[in-house]
Point group: C2
Chain length 527, copies 2
């Protein structure tokens, strides 16, 4: 029934095969190609094929092991390092085809640090994608087992489900007993970059007590995750001891899990955050595997009252300093931001982040634009996400309807991804991203011409659009509704517009008589 | 179970009783008062009591009939006329208490035409409310029978349902056979202003053929609806003959039902729109009953491609001219706008409308910020609605998930109202409306202090928030989720913030030792 097909566009070498979802249309309209994150599909027992394996091997800085390999001593096989050296890697070319831009643009944006291409040498299964303000706005979905509920199979299923609806990256935020095994299953089956927050696993290793954390435990955890193939890691290195008291008088204090873990550690030891003091060594580790930093915002606001305060912006300035350090080590960097921010304070976040972080890509949660609607925070935050995307945020971390209330299930994951794909696309339109509006135009043209199946097939969620339509008018084309519905009025407007086109050709007076003589029936559904 | 109660605040006379929803809180917190649109509740067989009856009678410009009356010859009993004369009516005082402002502000805003208080003398059951940029952003919900499906009882139920969730006005867009009876049932049971589009009923009277419409049929329909008590009417008087060809080359032509009806009429008769040519007489009719104009945007864009084009803005300029004419007749006016508009073109709509319509209140559908998501247009449009509200739009017309696809059912009405209440409140926050943030602050404080029941009772939708919470963690306080969830991390952040407050008092070093000695347990849920 669906007219969506996966097609591949070949690059400069036969193994660069860039996927798109192609939608065939009726009425003589050309097919429409949409960005596609769904991956090649996989057998969870086997995992995905190592698409990038040969490219990584060919660069000669990794010793082959299984699909990818172990970085050679002293090597920094990062996309940033290659971009700076003037090399357009196959990954960059793949991304250029995907985004519809010249490969030189991709290379330049990565070299300047304005974009990241998260691609651990040990995650060769991933289809390259890019995060940067000159490219399509991306969406991240969070999944992960908890101590008590989900199984590994369920999480792999959530991964597949999230990318089916358009998630560009997935963060595995598992806690509990089987973190390593869960992550292994997710990475081996993921065609999108996988992010993690290593402090969660480190905390499990010390029995859940943040006071017992140490740089050594954290470092070993990071190496373990680098070896597995994690593409980007959230590190709360900007939660400095002197910032913690700034959060004391807030309405909602510290709401970031990682932020509160590090604050607790600093508080107990009365020492500076070990992620900050050991940051250069951390950079060296990430550089060896081409793992991208996602510098965490441990002091992000958890309520409208706390938005844009000194705690939040102090940490942001420190993330800017750390960005420079990471770049010196050849490591790709993006910066995490927002949380809860009212609409009129959103732009300031992007402007300040771009300034103090030297245009490194911004990656924000929401923001939620009001606190009053638990159970609808995918909507309170889609508003903020669309706006912050318009102002230049490169990737949006989704929020599901269960935010603040419980764990997202399959339906919540879908609701969150869809709301954020809407926000991201609205932002692409507002930024005037080349080609973004072609999708809207194709769908609206189908709508205006009553090509219902084309409209469904072009929809972000074809199944639900079709189901809603069939629910009230399975066979009949016209029903009533005031604004802009595909009912009587649209039928009329189409007819009228067609008449008007004839008028423009023949002159209105003659046509008017002809129209009345013909019965003047433009309102068939109401007659 | 719910701690929400309806309370009334008395004005300067005992029959001015202004309703609020008061939420009792635990933890020694004072109760929170929320704006309440739900009305006193009614027996559909009897209708609501005529709250405003005595106020209308006391002004002496209406001869009593049933609850309200018939305007005396030559009288213009409009709130605008009274405001200009320096009179603060009981309706204005009611509104002032409701909005938390001085009555003089209400009078001044109405007198200047910057706000409307839609209150037909024949709808004495309504609780006064105001629409203007200096006040809380309002939400309209559309309901109405179609030719084939809904019953009158169902529509009254939808009215009650929509206002329960916060709809500030309701438009009855019924078509088909029993328009008059449906409207009668709705008005007699409505505590919120009721809007209509009289051309729909006029069209039914001429058998559904727009060519057979005439000024006389329309005029008689308007009088009929004025007599019944409709509070505001959409009139597409700005669809001038010369603008119609401007819509020919659009992607989606004319998508407004009223706009296409009038375009069809002009096209068939080759005469200027009779709503425009007879506008002064129409003003005289509306003035007699204090019916507010909602000047319709018949040429609003139906797709991203058509936004802010010459057809749309030409009509808007004409609506500005008509605003002046209506004001000369003492008639209150608001202006309808948007449809589909990408984010970067939203502000221009408000700025131009405020300029050419002399600051008359703006009342917009959405706008939808992308065309790609049928089945989710409550979200595509909540983004635009929040933004256009922030820029100064006074009332937002909701969009339901069924937009473009079918007729909204009960669930769709709720989804639309909730999404729009979020947008309106986000806009109130962004505009810095006095008192708006108190709601967010109370909820966030409850969240941070784990007063779960308080959080639910303060939520825009307490039932769903409670249900989502109980679904995953009925008894247990901690589960895992990355960002900002009410799980382990929040528990920690609260504990840490409490520790930090003690630190600030005692000095960090001592406290650090004490903290470690005490077990350093800030992470109980994870331990």
């Amino acid at each position: 029934m669906s007219a969506r097909r996966k097609v591949y566009v070949e690059g400069s070498q036969p193994d660069i095969q860039v996927p798109f979802a192609e939608v065939d249309l009726t009425g003589g309209e050309p097919p429409v190609r949409l960005y596609d994150t769904s991956g090649p599909g996989s057998d969870p027992e086997v995992g995905l094929p190592p698409l990038r394996g040969p490219w990584i091997a060919a660069r000669g800085d990794v010793a082959p092991v299984r699909g990818a390999g172990t970085p050679l001593a002293g090597s920094r096989p990062t996309q940033l390092a290659y971009a700076r050296a003037g090399v357009v890697t196959p990954e960059m070319e793949f991304v250029a085809i995907r985004e519809g831009v010249d490969p030189s643009v991709v290379r330049e944006e990565i070299a300047a640090g304005r974009a990241v291409l998260p691609a651990n040498v040990n995650h060769p299964e991933s289809e390259p994608m890019i995060i940067g303000r000159r490219f399509l706005v991306k969406v991240n979905a969070n999944i992960g087992t908890s101590a008590v509920t989900s199984s590994i199979a369920e999480e792999v299923e959530k991964l597949t489900w999230a990318t089916r609806w358009g998630a560009d990256t997935v963060m595995d935020l598992s806690t509990g007993k089987r973190i390593h095994e869960t992550r292994e299953a997710i990475i081996r089956n993921s065609a999108v970059p996988i992010g993690t927050v290593p402090i969660y696993q480190a905390l499990e290793k010390v029995g859940g007590d943040p006071v017992k954390l140490s740089w050594e435990v954290f470092r070993d955890t990071v190496v373990e995750q680098c070896e597995q193939g994690v593409d980007y890691m959230t590190v709360h290195a900007g939660v400095l001891m002197r910032y913690v008291p700034l959060a004391v008088e807030r309405v909602t204090g510290i709401v970031s899990r990682g932020g509160s873990i590090m604050a607790a550690w600093c508080l107990a030891h009365h020492e500076e955050n070990f992620l900050y003091t050991n940051f250069p060594e951390l950079c060296e580790i990430l550089a060896r595997y081409d793992v991208t930093f996602s510098l965490g915002d441990g002091l992000r606001p958890g309520s409208i009252a706390d938005a844009n305060d000194e705690a939040q912006f102090s940490e942001l300035r420190t993330l800017g300093e750390l960005t420079t350090v990471a770049w010196e080590h050849g490591v790709q960097v993006m910066i995490e931001g927002p949380g809860h921010v009212p609409m009129h304070k959103i732009k300031e976040n992007v402007d300040l982040q771009q300034e103090v972080c030297h245009e490194a890509p911004f990656y924000t949660l929401g923001p939620l634009t009001t606190d009053i609607a638990p159970a609808y925070d995918h909507i309170t935050s889609a508003i903020g996400a669309a706006m912050i995307g318009m102002y230049g945020t490169a990737m949006l971390c989704y929020v599901t309807p269960k935010e603040h209330l419980g764990l997202p299930d399959r339906d919540d994951v879908k609701a969150g991804v869809i709301a954020y794909k809407i926000a991201a696309h609205a932002a692409d339109l507002a930024k005037g991203h080349p080609g973004a509006q072609a999708w809207d135009d194709a769908l609206s043209k189908a709508r205006f011409e009553f090509r219902w199946e084309d409209q469904f097939n072009l929809a972000l969620d074809p199944e639900t659009a079709r189901a809603y339509h069939d629910q009230t008018l399975p066979a009949q084309p016209a029903k009533t509704a005031h604004f802009c519905s595909m009912c009587g009025p649209k039928f009329c407007s189409m007819k009228i517009t067609q008449e008007l086109k004839a008028y423009a050709e023949k002159g209105m007076k003659d046509k008017s008589e002809e129209f009345v003589e013909a019965g003047g029936k433009v309102y068939l559904p109401l007659a």
